[in-house]
Amino acid sequence: MKTGVYFCKCGTNIADKIDAVKIRESLLRQDPGIHFSTVDFMCSEEGKEAVAKDLAENRVERVVISACSPRDHETTFMRVLSKAGLNPYLMQMVNVREQIAWVTEDSGRATDKADRYIRAAVRRVQLHDALQKKEIDICPDVLVIGAGPAGLKAALSIAGSGRKVVLVEKSPVIGGLPVRFEELFPTMECGPCMLEPLLGDVLHGEYAENIELLTMAEVTGVVGSYGNFAAKISQRPRFVDMQVCIGCAECIEPCPVSAKNTFNSGMNDRKAISFPFAGALPNAPFVDEKLCIALQGGECRKCREACPVEGAIIFDDSAKVFERNIGAIIVAVGSDLYDCTKLPQLGYGKLDNIHTSMEFERIMASNGPTDGEIRTTAGNAPASVAIIHCVGSLDPKHKEYCSGVCCQYAFKFNHLIEKKLPGTRVCHFYKELVIPGKDEFGLYHQARSNPQATFVRYDDIQNLSVAGGAEGTIIQYQDNSGKSGSVKADMVILCPAVVPAEDSGRLGTVLEAGQDRAGFFEELHGRLDSAQSKIRGVFLAGTCQSPMDIQKAMNQGMAASGYILSGLVAGRKLEIQPVNAEVDARRCSGCRVCVAVCPYTAISFDPEKKVAVVNDVLCQGCGTCVAACPSAAIKGNHYTNAEILAEIEEVLK
C-alpha cells in the first residue's frame, strides 16, 4: 500500500524547528516504499494543487499530511484528496506546527517528536477504511411545541419559508404569558398590542395556511430521528368549532355555571363556556367539560340557544389524535413560577393581599379580574406596597440561579403603582439587583428617584417574615448590615423564581431530550448552541431552556428556526457523516451496557434480535459506547482499536 507523506514547511513556522531531511530518512528506514514530499505552504492554492497533482502522478493510496491543526485544515486536505480521486478518509493529519514546532525550543527534540508522530500516522493511515458518507431523504416540515413568544416567532419564520408548521399549544389561547401582561418592561409597551400582529399573522397572515394550529393539544409520542420524526398529538375537545365561531361572546352571559378563572390566577370567576380573557386569540370560547351542565348529562343548552351562528357550539366534540411527519422539533413550552408556599414565612396562601407577580400582572391588566384597578381585598387602594425580589432565586435552599427578569418587572410594578396610585409607598426587598442591557436602566432609575420608594437589601430570605394582624400586614426584616426593622404594607408582591413548566418532565421523556439539574431543557452547549438540545433535530427556544426575557425568547425562536432552515432543506438530502459507531450484531451479547451511556440516545436495544442498534442519524461518533462495550462488539469508525493502538505503539517505539 503506497503511502504518501506530505510535509508542509509553513514558511519558517515548521521548517525552522523540524528538519524535513531527517524525517524523510527516518521514514524511508521504516518503509522504503514511502513517498515523501515537502510543500512550502500546503494550504495555498498552489500548495493544494501540487499535492493533488503529486497524489495522482505517484498513485498514492494513503496520505499523511504533516502540517497544522486539523481544526484549521483537515477538511481542506480532505477536499484535496477527493479532488484527486481518493477517498478523503484515507488521510491522517499530523499537527507538527501547534503541537511541536511552536512549543518545542530545541530543534533536535522537535524533529525527533515530529518523526514519532509522523511514523505513527503512517502506521495508522494504513489501517484506515475508505468510509462513505450516507444520505437520507428528509421532511422539511417542523413541529413547534408551545405558542408563546419563542414558539410563535419560530413558527412564523419557518412558515414564511414555505414549509409546513404544526404549532401545538396546551391552552386554549396563544401568546404565552406576555399576552396577559398589560405593559412590558423595559419600554412599557402594551403586551397584547405588541403581540397582536404576531398572533394575527399566525392565524390569518400571508403564511397562515402553512401553520396548522392545534390548541388544547399536547405531544404524546415521538419516534424517528432528525429529518424524519413522526409525532403523535392528542387534542382535548374545545366543544366550539373555531372555523364557524365568530367570537361574538353572546354565549357567555346565559351560561348558568361559574368557577374560578385560572387565567386570572383564580382571582375572579368564569363561566363553563368562556374566553380566557377579553381579547384572547384564537377568537373562540372554549367549554370546560367538567363544569358544563350539558356535557355532564344535563338539559342546559343556553349557550347554543344564544349563539347566532349555526353549528359553532358542538356538544358531541371529542378528543382527537393527530399524527404528523416532521423533520425537526422546536420545544418552546415556556416556564412557571416557583411555588411561594415553599417559603411559608412570606405568608403566601395564608394571608390576604399577598400576591405573586403573575397575579399582580393580572390585577393591573385592564382585561383582568379588577379591570386594572389595584385594590386590597377590602376594596381600598393600598397606601403601601412591598415588593419582595429574589423569592427562591439565588438561593441554594430553593433555586440557585438568578431568574433574570424579576428586577425589571418589579421596577415596572413600581412605575405602574406610582402612575395609577400616586403617593403610594413602595418598599423593595432584594438580595441582588440585576439590570443588564442597553434599555433596561430606565425603570430602575425611575424607581430609585421615586421619593416614595425605599430599598432594603437582605442576605437571606429567611431574614424576612410577613405577618398579618389588626394593624395590617407587617414585614419584619434584618437587612444585610444586620439592622432589624419592620415595614407595614397593605399589599405584598412576591417575585418568585422562574422554574420549568410543570409538563417539561413528561415532554422531555417523550422527546428523550435531557433536562438539567433545575429541570430546564438542557442545551447542546451553553454558549455555542443554546438553541439546540443534545438530541439532533430537537431545538430549544425560550424559557423552557433557561429563564429569559421576551427579547431573548424571540431571538432564540429565530435561532432555532435558523438551524432548521439551513440544516433541513427541501430537496436536499441529509448527509450522515461516517465517523460513527457500528455494532457487530454477531458479536453483541445483548448485555445493554451501551444503551444508557450514549449522550445522544442514538443506541436502542432490539428485543427480538437481542442486540444493540445504533441510529446513524443521531450518532455523533463520540466513542463513549465503543469504550463501554465490554465485548468489543461496537466499532468506532475512524477510531478503531487497531488504528489507535498502532499509533500508540509507533509513538512509543
Binding site: 445483548g590 448485555c591 445493554r592 444508557a596 465490554p630 468489543a632 462488539a633
Partner: protein, 329 residues
C-alpha cells in the same frame, strides 16, 4: 495403533483441573482413544520426556498444552512440544492467559520466595534456605529449573496454533473440538479460539437484561440475588459482560456471578481494562453537573470502594496475557 494420529497433553504451571476436564468427557474418552494414539500425558501416562525427544519433528498431530510458563522447565517443554507437534493448542486459561498462577505477576520473584520460604508462619527454615537453580553439595551440583521473574502465557514463549479457553475448558466444548478434528471439519485461521463463542457470556445467559445503571455493589456473601434479573444489575460484579461465551453461563445460572475464566471476548485485548471501562460507564453517581471534582471522586469511591481487590477481581485469569502483564515497577 501406529496409524492413528498422535495426541499429547502436557501440564506446565497448572492445577491439574484441565486433565480432569478431559477425563470428564466420560465414556467419550473411548472415542478419543479410538481416533487418536493418546501417547503423552504425565498426569495419566508413563511416557517420558526422552520418548518425546526421540520422536521426529512434527510426529505428534495435536498437543493440548495446559499450564502457564513459570519455570525454565515449563518453557523447555513448551518449545520441545512445539517442535514435535503439527498443531499446538494452548489448552485452558493458564496457558492461554496465565490464569491464577499469573496473579503472581503482581510481585517479584524475590517477594514470592520470601513469602513462601521465609516469612511464613508454617515454615521452619532456620538456615533461611531459598531454592536456587544450582546448589553445591558434597556429592556435586544439584540442579533445579530456574524460577522466572514473570509468569508468561504459552504464546509468549512459542508459536501457538489455537487457543481453547476456560478454567477449565468445559467438557462439552472439548468434545466439540475433538469431534470436529475427528470429522476433519475445517478449523479457523491460525491463532483462533476453539471450543468457545465469539461474543460474551450474556449471550448464553437467560437472565433478563435492562439498560444498566448501578448505584451500589455487593460482594457475593452480602446478597441473595433474585433469580430473574441480570446479576450485574443487582449489584454483583458479574464479569460475564467482558468474558467470552462458550461455557453455557454455568455460574450465573446457579446465582453466582461470572468471574471471567473464559477470557476476553473476540476483539478485546485486555479483559480487566474492558470490565473497568464498562463498569465506569454504568455506575450511577447521580447528576454531577456543577459538582466539585472532589465530590464526584467521593461518589465514585462510594460505589467502587466496596471492591476489596481490584486486580484479583478484574484480572483473575488474564493478567500475564493483558496489556500490562503484571505490576509495573
Amino acid at each position: 495403533m501406529a496409524d492413528k494420529p498422535k495426541l499429547s497433553m502436557y501440564w506446565a504451571a497448572a492445577c491439574g483441573g484441565c486433565e480432569i476436564a478431559l477425563v470428564n468427557l466420560n465414556e467419550k474418552i473411548l472415542d478419543v482413544d479410538a481416533a487418536f494414539d493418546f501417547m503423552f500425558c504425565p498426569c495419566l501416562l508413563d511416557t517420558k520426556k526422552k520418548d518425546i525427544e526421540a520422536l521426529p519433528d512434527g510426529a505428534i498431530a495435536i498437543t493440548l498444552f495446559n499450564g502457564a510458563i513459570r519455570t525454565a522447565e515449563n518453557e523447555e517443554m513448551a518449545c520441545l512440544l512445539r517442535k514435535k507437534s503439527q498443531t499446538l493448542i494452548a489448552f485452558g486459561s493458564c496457558s492461554a492467559e496465565g490464569c491464577i498462577p499469573g496473579l503472581a505477576n503482581f510481585h517479584t520473584r524475590d517477594d514470592l520466595m520470601k513469602a513462601v520460604y521465609l516469612d511464613n508462619a508454617t515454615i521452619d527454615n532456620p538456615g533461611n534456605i531459598i531454592p536456587r537453580p544450582e546448589t553445591e553439595v558434597a556429592e556435586g551440583t544439584l540442579q533445579l529449573p530456574a524460577f522466572y521473574d514473570r509468569v508468561r502465557t504459552l504464546a509468549q514463549v512459542t508459536d501457538v496454533d489455537f487457543f481453547i479457553p476456560g478454567c477449565p475448558p468445559e467438557p462439552h466444548q472439548i468434545w466439540n473440538v475433538v469431534s470436529a478434528v475427528i470429522a476433519g471439519a475445517p478449523l479457523p485461521p491460525k491463532g483462533g479460539v476453539l471450543g468457545a463463542g465469539r461474543s460474551a457470556v450474556c449471550e448464553e445467559c437467560d437472565r433478563k437484561k435492562e439498560d444498566k445503571k448501578i448505584a451500589k455493589l455487593f460482594r457475593t456473601y452480602e446478597l441473595v440475588p433474585g433469580k430473574e434479573a441480570c446479576l450485574l444489575e443487582q449489584g454483583l460484579i458479574c464479569m460475564g459482560i467482558a468474558t467470552r461465551d462458550g461455557c453455557g453461563a454455568l455460574c450465573p445460572k446457579v446465582n453466582m456471578p461470572c468471574t471471567g475464566c473464559y477470557g476476553p471476548p473476540e476483539g478485546v485485548l485486555d479483559q480487566g481494562a474492558k470490565m473497568v471501562a464498562a463498569l465506569g460507564s454504568i455506575i450511577d453517581i447521580g447528576d454531577t453537573k456543577g459538582l466539585a471534582e472532589e465530590e464526584i471522586f467521593r461518589r465514585i469511591d462510594a460505589v467502587f470502594g466496596s471492591i476489596p481487590d481490584y486486580a484479583g477481581m478484574f484480572y483473575k485469569y488474564s493478567l500475564p496475557g493483558s496489556i500490562l502483564k503484571g505490576r509495573i515497577s
